[in-house]
């Protein structure tokens, strides 16, 4: 396993040093991408290894590339062929649509938008796993103010320092929803990258008292933090789907078999599985490739 990782990095070194690498065989090389978020990386890596197990050559240059602002244009302009996407956020943040708590509707709406992008992009089946925006507090804060729901934050907002995602002021499901639905004033919030180490560190260091984290975030469990309930259902369902360029689907020969590779994987990723994969990488400090391959083996996807 370690050797294969070394070889992969070695191959990218060769690219750097000017040598050309060419994919062998008749199957096309597939360029896999993902945002720089560990959970997305590990899902992208499961796609990559499953493709390799099925005889495809994979180019991983796009994995961990940056944020959605970089990734979606990269997909539209064929710099990458496929990527895992959080369909609710992809719809709302990526393309200005309105995402809901219904994943089937989010998928349909995202598909409608993507039909006209970059020569056509297909949204494959989504995971049962949901990763949604969560507001999290330290245990002692929850006890002190008896916080259980997002509504409880509003009642104590004068005493609580809130940390929110950097895009919050312009994100309709963030600042606007918090204000309109819960009456929480976000103008004084500390803005940090969502679902990230700075956000978790800030909560840990008591720089903030309420943090916007991802519901699958391992730091919530590790630190014994309390996730408050979005009792008025403002946050979209963020199930994960692979987004695949149609021109790649046209090249793979047996399109149904190709799509099945991904749909089988997605079907097996429920919320605890996703949280565990994320945990193994972020807290267990295991290498993403090792985490992905162990999970694929356990699930019988690769031998």
């Amino acid at each position: 396993m370690r050797l294969s990782r070394t070889l992969a990095l070695g191959a990218s070194m060769l690219v750097l040093l000017g040598a050309c690498s060419t994919g062998g065989g008749s199957k096309p090389t597939v360029k896999v991408g993902s945002v720089g978020f560990d959970e997305a990386r590990v899902v992208a890596e499961t796609y990559a290894q499953a493709l390799e197990a099925n005889g495809y050559t994979v180019d991983r240059a796009g994995i961990g590339l940056g944020d959605r602002k970089v990734l979606l244009p990269a997909l539209e302009t064929s710099k990458i062929d496929l990527m895992p996407e959080y369909i609710g956020s992809g719809l709302a943040q990526g393309y200005g649509g309105t995402s809901t708590t219904d994943p089937a509707k989010n998928r349909t709406d995202l598909q409608t938008v993507l039909n006209g992008k970059g020569g056509g992009i297909t949204v494959l089946d989504y995971t049962p796993a949901v990763d949604t925006n969560a507001l999290v507090v330290r245990k002692e804060t929850a006890d002190q103010f008896s916080l259980k729901t997002w509504g409880d934050i509003a009642a104590h907002q004068a005493d609580l320092k809130i940390g929110l995602a950097t895009d919050c002021p312009t994100n309709p499901v963030c600042a606007k929803a918090l204000k309109d639905v819960y009456g929480i004033d976000t103008s004084g919030a500390t803005l940090l990258a969502a679902c990230s180490t700075p956000m978790a560190d800030a909560l840990k260091a008591k720089t903030i008292d309420v943090a916007e984290l991802c519901s699958t975030g391992p730091e919530i469990i590790v630190n014994g933090w309390v996730r408050l309930e979005d009792d008025k259902g403002t946050q979209p369902a963020d199930n994960i789907s692979p987004l695949v360029r149609n021109d790649l689907l046209a090249k793979v020969g047996d399109k149904a078999a190709f799509e099945k590779i991904f749909n089988d994987i997605s079907a097996k990723i429920d919320t605890p599985t996703l949280a565990q994969l994320y945990y193994d990488v972020a807290v267990g400090k295991k290498d993403i490739k090792d985490v992905a391959s162990a999970w694929l083996k356990a699930g019988g996807f690769v031998k």
Partner: protein, 240 residues
């Protein structure tokens, strides 16, 4: 061209010029944080550089330390310092101190190297004749060496200031104020005008500061030396 329009529109929008988190506030924060880091760096590096240049002892050590300071990635400094300072002060220790420390480390090398090289390059005969006139070591340094070396020293401070202004933006990732907020928020909010408006402000600020230092450098050059244009010589940074 789209980008230019977006940037110009953002910069011209009056809403971005008034209120909390608007351009004047961020600009002030940026200047303030930069000035603090620069002042601390000067307080550390200038006396050290002068002493080394004057005594001609420890130049090798200083050059190596300066090189280490240059080579340490600011991001790594912030990542390592943050848990420590945040434990001391949850607010400033998280949002401000780590970036200040990284900026001070960034600013020390050019100031140290230039003040040492500036003093060392003063004509030894000049120094000897000052001593022959009965000046003490402190007087020689303050009365002869520093005035002659001032343009070179100022150039070191100038390049430290420019580097701080450009690199201070990293702090916004950790919630610090300053112009970096426009870059980080612009990237997250998918707002090109905001990103490049922020870039224009950072670059503009750096150029204004450069110009001020250039003026100060000219004023500080003693008339007898002016035609040699020591100012440009001073931009070497590394003493050979």
């Amino acid at each position: 061209m789209n980008l230019l329009t977006a940037t110009a529109t953002w910069l011209a929008d009056p809403a971005n010029w008034t209120g909390a988190g608007a351009i004047p506030q961020r600009l002030l924060e940026h200047v303030g944080l930069s000035a603090i880091s620069l002042a601390v760096a000067v307080a550390i590096a200038l006396p050290a550089g002068l002493a080394i240049g004057h005594t001609r002892r420890g130049a090798e050590v200083a050059a190596n330390l300066a090189n280490i300071g240059r080579a340490i990635p600011s991001l790594a400094v912030i990542g390592i310092i943050l848990p420590i300072t945040a434990a001391i002060d949850p607010q400033l220790g998280f949002k401000v101190y780590p970036t200040l420390v990284a900026m001070i480390i960034l600013a020390i090398p050019p100031i140290l190297v230039n003040s040492e090289a500036g003093i060392r390059s003063v004509d030894p005969e000049l120094v000897e004749s000052a001593r022959a006139m009965g000046m003490g070591e402190g007087q020689v340094l303050a009365g002869v060496e520093v005035p002659v070396a001032l343009p070179v020293i100022l150039t070191g401070v100038r390049s430290a200031a420019t580097q701080i202004i450009a690199t201070m933006t990293l702090g916004a990732i950790f919630g610090s104020g300053g112009l970096g907020r426009f870059l980080v928020e612009g990237i997250a909010q998918n707002d090109d005008g905001k990103i490049f408006g922020g870039v224009v402000l950072v670059a503009g600020l750096a150029l204004v500061i450069e110009a001020l230092f250039a003026l100060a450098g000219r004023a500080a050059t003693s008339p007898g030396l002016r035609r040699i244009d020591v100012n440009r010589q001073g931009s070497l940074g590394v003493a050979t």
